[in-house]
């Protein structure tokens, strides 16, 4: 929250000077949400780019007071979700499965670790795809983007309690499904941080 306030203060004072940091701070989150909801790396990059371009054009038009009141992460997420929805509508949702295993390796990662992660990612992606849309979006915003529950609620325009329930229900289904599939739960467990 403090970070958000510093950021909005800088954006309000010097949009062009502060905007790059704003994009960098949110690039992974916005891109990941687009990727996991659209399932296509190229489309996800388009949506992420368009999200920030729209954000910039709005900020450039707005008076300072409005920027200062802004909660940047839910606001950006709403823009992303709108763009995702527009594309999904064109593409006919639910008929096309998510493309599995999209994962960009950090430069230093060893190939075998990368391979494991791709496998684990593929398994979770496939299962996530089977969840109802509402639960899926809530989980992606909470755990892939890393938003807090109030932020997810704001981005989705749903009460916090509803969002918590959706995330919880979705995760429970995922957990069950991962347990039912031996090979996939194996790769997931390998990937887990030691407790």
């Amino acid at each position: 929250m403090d970070d958000d306030q510093t950021l909005t203060a800088r954006l309000a004072a010097d949009l062009d000077g502060a905007f790059e940091q704003f994009v960098r701070a949110n690039a992974d989150g916005v891109y990941s949400v687009a990727l996991r909801l659209l399932g296509d790396a190229h489309e996800a990059e388009d949506v992420a780019q368009e999200t920030f371009v729209r954000a910039y054009r709005s900020l450039a038009r707005w008076p300072k007071e409005r920027i200062l009141e802004l909660r940047p992460r839910p606001w950006l997420t709403r823009i992303t979700l709108n763009l995702v929805r527009n594309r999904a509508r064109v593409r006919r949702p639910h008929t096309q499965p998510l493309r599995d295993g999209t994962w960009v390796a950090p430069e230093a990662e060893r190939p075998e670790v990368h391979a494991e992660r791709v496998e684990a990612t593929a398994a979770v992606t496939a299962l996530l795809e089977r969840l109802p849309e509402r639960d899926r979006v809530a989980i992606v915003l909470k755990h892939v983007h890393g938003l807090g529950y109030p932020e997810v609620a704001e981005a989705l325009g749903r009460p916090v309690g509803t969002v918590k329930a959706q995330v919880h229900r979705g995760l429970a289904k995922l957990r069950e499904a991962l347990g039912a599939d031996d090979s996939k739960s194996g790769t997931m467990a390998d990937n887990e941080v030691t407790r």
């Binding site: 790059e20 690039a27 991962l178 887990e192």
Partner: protein, 268 residues
């Protein structure tokens, strides 16, 4: 372990693996698109692969800021900062107008950012841009046309600092003695570009060695620079060659209004 249902924590950790690093080009793409920073890309051109930097102008048009032979990206970025005062980053895709222009080797729906050039340099580059494809002019011609007839050497320096060679056709300016002269991409490339545009550099040098500076037509009594399109349409049997404008004037010829081989004052 693998046969059991994963713990709650393991499930969350699994979902978190779906967080993905955004492609490295995302930030530069955004900054270039909104006009905060310049972007660049490697693009095919008539003289091979080149690095081209661009940004969105205030009116939404695409401005090309720098063009260099393909080479070290870090060197290009450093030079861009030094020349324009703005950082530049590689983007996923250049704007369509920029791609079209570089592919064609001439500006198609783009502008240039010459804010860092002096007014004199801008005049020189703008004048070079008026030279039609398939023709050449001399450094002295450019100097005279922009109203600075004594600044021939300065014209040469200004063209040498052309930030956007190829698209601003400094290659169409050659030495008065007919030699092709220097080029950002090297003299051989300058010859090749001119050849591709329909100028024969060997023939140009040959004419200069024979002290032929102007070509006239004995049917129209007009004299031109050798590469002027009007001069090249003259039938060989009607061609008259001159070493100096004075000789042409003495023979009763007037200068071509298209290629303006001599200053207007001389005509009177």
């Amino acid at each position: 372990m693998t046969e059991q249902t994963p713990t709650w924590r393991e499930t969350v950790a699994g979902v978190r693996t779906l967080r993905t690093r955004a492609p490295a080009t995302l930030v530069p793409d955004v900054l270039a698109e909104v006009g905060i920073a310049d972007g660049y890309a490697s693009l095919p051109s008539p003289i091979g692969e080149v690095l081209v930097a661009f940004r969105r102008g205030p009116d939404g048009s695409d401005l090309v800021t720098m063009l260099s032979p393909a080479g070290d990206a870090a060197v290009f970025e450093h030079e861009h900062l030094a020349r324009t005062g703005r950082p530049v980053r590689p983007v996923r895709e250049a704007p369509a107008a920029v791609r079209r222009s570089v592919h064609a080797g001439r500006p198609v729906g783009i502008g240039f950012d010459l804010a860092r050039q002096s007014p004199f340099e801008r005049d020189v580059l703008r004048k070079a841009g008026e030279i039609p494809s398939g023709e050449v002019r001399s450094y002295a011609w450019v100097a005279r046309e922009i109203g600075r007839p004594a600044a021939v050497r300065a014209v040469g320096s200004a063209l040498g600092r052309n930030p956007v060679p190829l698209l601003i056709p400094c290659h169409r300016v050659v030495r008065s003695d007919g030699r092709i002269g220097q080029y950002a991409f090297g003299s051989p490339v300058k010859r090749a570009v001119l050849s591709a545009e329909g100028v024969d550099p060997d023939e140009l040098e040959l004419l200069a060695r024979k002290a032929v500076r102007y070509i006239g037509s004995d049917t129209t009594n007009v004299f031109c620079l050798p590469t002027c399109h009007a001069a090249r349409r003259i039938q060989p049997r009607h061609q008259v060659r001159f070493a100096t404008a004075t000789a042409a004037a003495a023979a009763g010829y007037r200068p071509c209004k298209r290629c303006r081989p001599v200053a207007a004052v001389v005509i009177a």
